[in-house]
């Protein structure tokens, strides 16, 4: 299950709506091993495409360097689909390379750049196997020292 706070959830949705009809992408980093999506990082879709996304290679390097220095890992890797459902495409599955991450898919096909609900779904993608999981949105993540 993915537990995510409301502000981060809203930020992902806002990014997806803003970049529609192109795909939006980014990550939410968190302390290694914590499974806590704490630090929202919006990335530029270097492909600038309605059917493809890719982090710019220099941005990617900087991001991983930063996470390394902070002892963080990508807890959530998100991107949007702008004309299809929020389910990983064959390309998504083939290129998924963070077995520990929650892959979040947002679909903006219904309302595009406008207000209105979006599909927001989360998956594990490991060795080509896709497993959907529940998403729980909370007001705030529990304080770190009280979480197990």
């Amino acid at each position: 299950m993915l537990t995510i706070d409301r502000a981060t959830y809203d930020a992902i949705v806002a990014h997806a709506k803003r970049d529609h009809p192109d795909e939006a992408c980014g990550i939410v980093a968190g302390p290694e091993g914590s499974d806590r999506p704490e630090r929202f990082v919006e990335m530029v879709n270097a492909a600038g495409s309605p059917t493809f996304y890719e982090f710019d290679s220099t941005d990617l390097f900087q991001l991983y360097k930063e996470m390394d220095q902070n002892d963080e890992e990508p807890v959530v890797v998100y991107h949007s689909h702008t004309a299809t459902e929020a389910y990983p495409s064959r390309t998504d599955i083939g290129l998924a390379s963070e077995p520990g991450a929650h892959y979040v898919l947002v679909s903006t096909r219904e309302h595009g750049n406008n207000d209105g609900p979006v599909e927001f779904r989360s998956y594990r993608i490991v060795d080509g196997e896709v497993t959907e999981e529940d998403v729980t949105v909370v007001d705030d993540l529990e304080p770190r020292n009280e979480s197990s």
Binding site: M43, A47, T51, F55, S57, T91, S97, E98, G100
Partner: protein
Amino acid sequence: MAIEVRIPTILRTYTDGEKAVNGEGASLTALIDDLEVNHPGIKDRLIENGDLRRFVNVYINDEDVRFIGGLEAELKDGDQVVVLPAVAGG
């Protein structure tokens, strides 16, 4: 000649879980051949049809190797190599 190579999570199955390993070689190609000796199978995850895989990024001292000669990029003692799979999809 020792070159530190940072290994991404997805390839740590080839390095017994190690985040970084040492290798040697005067070029990226030579380094990858050297890695293959100690970590069999890793070369195929980096190279396809004699070229760097499209969705694998390799950096030498913070620079994407695609801008500095690709597989022929030169290496020297003390360089740091980072391997990162692209974050991409459709």
